[in-house]
Symmetry: C2
C-alpha cells in the first residue's frame, strides 16, 4: 500500500506524464527552459512538505515546505498550483475525511499563520498572478513575507485570502467550494479503464472544455482563455486534432496550468480511494 | 540541495524518461502490461529502502526494502536491477566516498545477512535470471528466503554471491569491479549539455554498443544480445534509425535492462556530483 504522501507525489508525476495535454508540459512536449525533468525533480523534492500535511501539520507551513522542495530545480514554477490544490486534500485524507465537507473543514480551520506561510511560498519561484485590485496592494502575493504585517493587521486567514481570489483563480475556488471539480475529475478517472496517464489526459480535456482556465486568463487575457475552452470542445467533438492543438499552444506559450492542477488533484483523490497503478 | 535519497529517486525517473532508449520503457514507448506509470510508482515507493542506505544501514536490508516498495504497483519488475546497482552507490555517497574504491569498500563489508536479505528481495517480483550451474540449485535466487540455510551453511556474503554471478550479470560485475561502467556513464552525462534526459538516452546507446546486455542474454540468448550490441553501433554510425530500432525491439520484446540500470547509476553519480536539473 502506498502512503498518502507517496500518492500525492505519484499524482504529480502521473499528471505531467499524461499526453496530449494541450499547452502544458507532458511526456511528449516541453519548453526549452521548462522541461519534463524539472517536473520530475519537483515531485520528488516536494515530499517533505506533503509529508507534513499527511502528518496533520498546518496547511500553510506544509505548503511552504513543499514549494521550497519543489523549487530545487532550474525550471522555475513547475507545481506551485498543484501543491496548493493538493495540500488541503492531503490533510483531509490524513484525517480520513477526503470528501467535500472534509476539505471545507480543513480550509475553515486555517489561520493567519497559514496565510503568512502561503505568502512566504511566493519567494521561492516566480508565479504568474493578476494585479491586485485597488487598495489591495499591501496584500499582493508578490510581496511574499513583506505582506506579513498587512495580513496580521487585517487578521486574514488563508481561507480569507482564498475567498478574495476565488473569482479569478480556479484553485482558490476549489479551496472555498469543497473541491467540486477535483472530485468530479477523480470520479471520471476511476470510471474509465486503461493506462492511468491516458485517463489523466482525457480528464484534462474534459475540464478544459467546462470552464475557462484562470491561469491562461491571468497569463494572457480572458479572450484567450475563452478561445482555449472553445477549441478544446472542438477537439472533443472531433473537429480539431488534439496533437496539432497541443503543438500550437506550446508554440503560443499558452499553458492551461490550473486545469492541469485539477487533474493532479483528481489523480490524488482517485489513488487514495484505491485506483490501481 | 537535493538529498542523496532524492537524487537516487530522481535518477530512476530521469532514466525512464530518456528517449529513445531502444527496447526499454521510456517516455515514448511502453508495453501493455509494463507501462511508464509503473516506473513512476516504483521510483516514488522505493524511497524508504534508499533512505536506509543513505542513512548507513546494511546494503542487503536497504535493497530488500527498496524492492518491497518498488513492487507496490501492478507492472511487476520495474527497477529491481537499478536498485541493486544503486544501493551500494547510495551507501558510498552517504559515507562521502562515492568513487570506485568507495564502492569496493561498501561491497567488501557485506555479510551473510546481506546475502539473505538479497535473496528475500526476489520474493516481491519475478526477475528473469539464468538457470543456476550444476550443484548450485540450493543457491538459486528464485528460492528466495528458502535459500537462507544454504547461504548460512556456506557462509556466503553478498559480495561472494555477486562474485559468482559476475560473468553473466552486468550488475554483479559492477559490484565487484568498482563500478567502472557506471562512473564512465556519469562522466559522459556530465560532459554533455542540454536536457538531462537526452544525455541519459545518449549514454544508454553508448553503453549498449560497448558490451552485450546481460539481461538480453538471459531473457533471450547470447546471439540476440550480440545482435543488439551490433545494431546499436549501426544506429550510432547513422546506418540505422534509432526510432525504428526502438520500435522493433519493443515489438520483439527485447529489453536491454542492464544497460538501462547502468544509466540510472550514472545519473545518480552525476547528480550527487552536482549535475544541474
Amino acid at each position: 500500500m502506498r502512503t498518502t504522501t507517496e500518492n500525492a507525489q505519484l499524482a504529480l508525476l502521473l499528471e505531467v506524464s499524461g499526453t496530449p495535454k494541450p499547452g502544458n508540459v507532458d511526456r511528449h512536449r516541453e519548453y526549452d527552459d521548462l522541461r519534463f525533468e524539472h517536473f520530475l525533480s519537483g515531485a520528488v523534492c516536494a515530499r517533505d512538505g506533503l509529508r507534513l500535511a499527511a502528518g496533520g501539520a498546518e496547511v500553510g507551513e506544509s505548503f511552504r515546505r513543499a514549494v521550497a522542495g519543489m523549487s530545487q530545480q532550474s525550471g522555475g514554477n513547475t507545481q506551485f498550483g498543484a501543491l496548493l490544490l493538493l495540500t488541503p486534500l492531503v490533510r483531509a485524507s490524513a484525517a480520513q475525511d477526503l470528501n467535500p465537507d472534509g476539505t471545507r473543514r480543513v480550509v475553515s480551520e486555517t489561520t493567519v499563520e497559514d496565510a503568512v506561510a502561503f505568502y512566504k511560498a511566493f519567494e521561492y519561484v516566480d508565479v504568474a498572478v493578476p494585479e491586485p485590485p485597488e487598495g489591495m496592494g499591501p496584500l499582493d502575493v508578490r510581496r511574499g513575507a513583506a505582506a506579513e504585517s498587512a495580513l496580521r493587521e487585517r487578521g486574514l486567514t488563508l481561507a480569507d485570502v482564498m475567498e478574495r481570489s476565488r473569482d479569478h483563480d480556479g484553485i482558490a475556488a476549489e479551496w472555498v467550494d469543497g473541491y467540486p471539480r477535483t472530485f468530479e475529475a477523480a470520479d471520471r478517472i476511476e470510471s474509465e479503464s486503461g493506462p492511468v496517464t491516458d485517463r489523466a489526459a482525457a480528464a484534462y480535456l474534459d475540464l478544459l472544455t467546462e470552464e475557462v482556465d484562470t491561469f491562461v486568463a491571468t497569463q494572457h487575457d480572458p479572450e484567450t482563455a475563452a478561445e482555449i475552452r472553445r477549441r478544446a470542445a472542438a477537439v472533443q467533438a472531433g473537429e480539431e486534432d488534439a496533437e496539432a492543438f497541443a503543438a500550437e499552444l506550446v508554440e503560443r506559450n499558452i499553458n492551461p496550468g490550473t486545469t492541469a492542477d485539477l487533474v493532479a488533484g483528481g489523480l490524488f483523490v482517485a489513488l487514495e480511494r484505491g485506483l490501481e497503478v
